[in-house]
């Protein structure tokens, strides 16, 4: 009897409590239910604390921290409330604020936690990335983490981060941990290798005509020093000039690392392309001798007045800094590629140092000019003039190539026509050859005729409305759209659109592109038009993420894909998992593209 009364009372109690707890308030957003705070203390450790709202709890076992390489960081956590009931089972939980410490983190730390609203909902795992200084970078990888965990069959899965992947957000993609070139270099050989790489890149850039406008500036600076020029003095002057120029590039690196993809996008925006093309035209006109590029008269005067070494050194430095502004735009196209990598790291110091190294590399030939004096410069003669003319033509060509991204196709072809015919005539296509004319003049004339012919083709193409300078007569052949037809891409501009496009369970290629992306056009005409690549791409779901309108939506998608900017190609398999090292950024060869495709669609 006693027993029965007791159990009835218990049952009533259970019912009552069931009623009382039946309808908990609608669950809070997980970030409000567990408010995370992170502070860096004097010893460079990170103090982590969660404020737990009443009626919510965190699982002790679900609080975890991982280093960037996926290594778990041991955490000292206070004892939790031991919960042991028929439904929860035995578990340790925290209903009150809980704190822990990550001792002196080396680099980024990924923090995981998971909790529930009592009698309401159990949240999907939460995750943030903490930078070494305690800055919280929201990853919003909640859903993706969950998504990532179902993939493995048969045996228990690793947490998504420890198997070398990071999680994309909304669309539940599993992204391979993409290190990018910089991170790759820095993991292989540390910062030094990154800097060396960029120095080499700068050296390569110095082989482009872009450095030519600087040579007269440096030469002018040296000649004004008068007759007492020693090699040492020349070297220190040019040294100051080059270091200042490199510093200007370094500043650019700082901005790039800070702004992420935005700078690269800005550099490729419509107006920036216009301005840069205009600068190329200006440089070209200078090469053609319309005006001389040299430092302003007031600077020259000041340099002449101050013969003290400090004065002229700082003058040289100022000149170098200014020159970077002139030459910078000239190297934008290759620079944009370098900037993507810098932006990916988000590391301001590394970005600055890397571009500083690039500037130094670019200045090496100038140092040679400084050391040996202007004497090693060829005398101003016909030879030098021809080089200047040629680089002027190259500059004009670069200007047209750049402007091709923002001008209608036929106009671009018309511009090519003008340039080609102009060059052809200039080297003697229409000159009358006397019988005694030498071999070289005849060769030049023949080349000129070819150029004029090519120019006429471009002109004809322009009249036919063609928009591909490489195939000016395509409209006549009637196969203008051929490659585009075979390679139809689904174009998406929103996160939802991307998720939708990824529904089909086939391997997929996600191609981040934009109308203003210069390199993208080259990729589409080059490696993507390769017959083998096209055949391989038939097996893929081809998705074009159009970030032309660089708004919040586009940036959100790019964040999901961990893409710093177009062009980025992400390859995912049928299980929506990105293949390791398959990601392509910037320009590529058909072979490389094919290799990446094969990784997801063998």
């Amino acid at each position: 009897m006693m027993m029965r009364t007791l159990s009835a009372a218990l049952a009533a109690l259970t019912c009552w409590s069931a009623v009382a707890i039946a309808q908990p308030a609608p669950p809070l957003d997980p970030s409000d239910a567990f408010v995370l705070s992170v502070t860096a203390d004097a010893a460079d450790s990170l103090q982590i604390a969660w404020e737990v709202q009443p009626g919510y709890y965190l699982y002790r076992s679900k609080i975890e921290a991982f280093e960037a390489d996926g290594e778990a960081i041991p955490l000292v956590l206070p004892d939790g409330e031991v919960y042991d009931d028929p439904w929860l089972g035995r578990d340790e939980i925290y209903r009150t604020p809980v704190a822990t410490t990550i001792p002196d983190p080396q680099g980024e730390v990924t923090l995981h936690w998971q909790g529930c609203q009592q009698d309401g909902i159990c949240y999907a795992p939460q995750q943030v990335v903490l930078e070494a200084d305690g800055t919280i970078r929201a990853e919003n990888a909640v859903k993706a983490e969950a998504f990532g965990s179902w993939r493995a069959g048969g045996s228990a899965v690793q947490p998504a981060l420890s198997d070398g992947t990071t999680s994309g957000a909304q669309d539940g993609l599993k992204l391979a941990k993409d290190d990018g070139l910089v991170a790759d270099l820095s993991s292989r050989g540390g910062v030094a290798l990154v800097l060396l790489g960029f120095f080499g890149f700068g050296l390569l850039l110095s082989l482009t005509p872009c450095v030519l406008p600087m040579v007269p500036i440096v030469a002018g600076m040296l000649t004004r020093q008068g007759g007492d020029m020693t090699a040492w003095r020349g070297l220190s002057l040019t040294g100051a000039y080059v270091v200042a120029m490199a510093a200007a590039f370094g500043l650019l690196g700082v901005v790039a690392a800070w702004s992420g993809a935005n700078l690269q996008a800005t550099l490729q925006s419509r107006w920036a392309i216009g301005v840069i093309a205009a600068i190329f035209v200006t440089l070209a006109l200078s090469m053609f001798g319309l005006f001389e590029l040299q430092m302003p008269a007031s600077w020259q005067a000041r340099l002449a007045r101050r013969q003290g070494s400090a004065g002229s050194l700082s003058g040289a430095a100022a000149l170098g800094f200014g020159s970077a502004l002139i030459v910078g735009p000239c190297v934008t196209a290759p620079l944009a590629g370098a900037l993507i990598y810098i932006a990916q790291t988000g590391d301001v110091m590394l970005g600055a140092a890397a571009l500083f190294a690039l500037g130094l590399g670019q200045g090496v030939p100038l140092l040679a000019v400084g050391a040996f004096g202007p004497a090693i410069l060829p005398r101003r003669g016909a030879w030098m003039e021809r080089v200047k003319m040629a680089s002027g033509v190259v500059f004009l060509g670069l200007a047209i190539w750049l402007a091709g991204r923002i001008l209608p196709g036929p106009i671009v072809l018309a511009l090519w026509a003008v340039l080609l015919v102009g060059c052809g005539v200039a080297i003697g296509a229409l000159d009358r050859l006397a019988p005694e004319t030498g071999r070289s003049a005849r060769m030049a004339a023949a080349a000129g005729v070819l150029l004029v012919f090519a120019g006429l083709l471009q002109g004809l193409g322009a009249a036919l409305g063609s928009d591909d300078p490489a195939r000016p007569l395509a409209p006549l052949a009637g196969s203008r759209q051929a490659p585009a037809d075979d390679l139809s891409f689904q174009t998406v501009t929103t996160q939802a659109g991307l998720a939708q496009a990824l529904q089909a369970s086939y391997p997929a290629l996600i191609y981040v592109t934009a109308d203003w992306c210069v390199i993208c056009r080259a990729i589409e005409r080059g490696p993507m038009a390769d017959p083998q690549v096209m055949a391989a791409m038939q097996d893929l779901v081809r998705i074009k993420v159009d970030v032309t309108d660089f708004g919040t939506e586009a940036q959100a998608i790019m964040a999901d894909l961990a893409a710093a900017g177009p062009p980025t190609l992400v390859f995912v398999d049928a299980a929506r998992s990105e293949a390791q090292d398959s990601r392509l950024i910037g320009n590529m060869s058909a072979e490389r593209l094919l290799a990446s495709i094969r990784q997801v669609a063998p």
Binding site: G153, Q158, D171, S505
Partner: protein, 210 residues
């Protein structure tokens, strides 16, 4: 029947109300299911269906085999499905508690081939929340099922199940679900646990708007 002014006015008003209701409903649909297509969520062709497959109301639950409130409410849910008789129930696996949850989902889905889906699910839903892989195996063994056979069956149909699990996670993200359990009763999302009363109310509301 003659057309009177009253009939015209009444009909017009009726039409107006229907139109307003339609607009309201469509707005409601948009706000409650922002991204994922409702039909794709409720009528995934690969999803095993419980209750009455021809039922007039579909109840979907995003759940995890280690989620305490999913399990505590499971008996109520099954009892209501049984009592109602006209409910179409789909249990949408959304493993958010890690490895053991994934294994559990895989084994239960493997049971579809041998008609053990319901039994395997019921066995695992009647356990305490926290499970290890061994717990999952022993629970299924105790229910007279062979975990390895189930896993093998899952493996043979892996494309189907992995595809479905992937879609579930995408839909959860698309619907903005925060965790488990999350119920979708026809067109309305209810985050968090629902007792039988709340469930009944939601089902009645869904029938009323049909």
């Amino acid at each position: 029947m003659t057309v009177t002014r009253r009939a015209v006015l009444g009909g017009g008003a009726g039409l107006g109300i229907v139109a307003l209701g339609g607009i309201g409903l469509s707005r409601f649909l948009r706000s409650s299911a922002p991204d994922a297509d409702v039909h794709a969520v409720l009528f995934d062709p690969d999803q095993p269906v419980l209750g009455n497959p021809q039922g007039d109301v579909t109840v979907a639950e995003f759940f995890d085999y280690q989620c305490p409130f999913c399990k505590r409410g499971h008996d109520d849910l099954m009892a209501e499905v049984e009592a109602d008789g006209n409910l179409r129930l789909i249990m949408k696996d959304w493993p958010i508690f890690g490895g053991a949850s994934v294994i559990a989902a895989q084994m239960v889905l493997g049971g579809v081939a041998s008609d053990d889906y319901l039994g395997a699910q019921a066995a695992l839903m009647a356990t305490p929340a926290r499970l290890s892989e061994d717990d999952v195996r022993s629970t299924l063994s105790a229910a007279g099922l062979d975990p390895d056979v189930l896993l093998g069956a899952y493996g043979r149909d892996r494309a189907r199940w992995d595809g479905m699990l992937g879609r579930n996670a995408q839909q959860a993200a698309g619907l903005g679900l925060q965790g488990t359990p999350a119920f979708i009763v026809e067109r309305t999302i209810h985050a968090g646990a629902m007792d039988r009363t709340a469930l009944r109310r939601a089902i009645a509301a869904a029938r009323a708007t049909d």
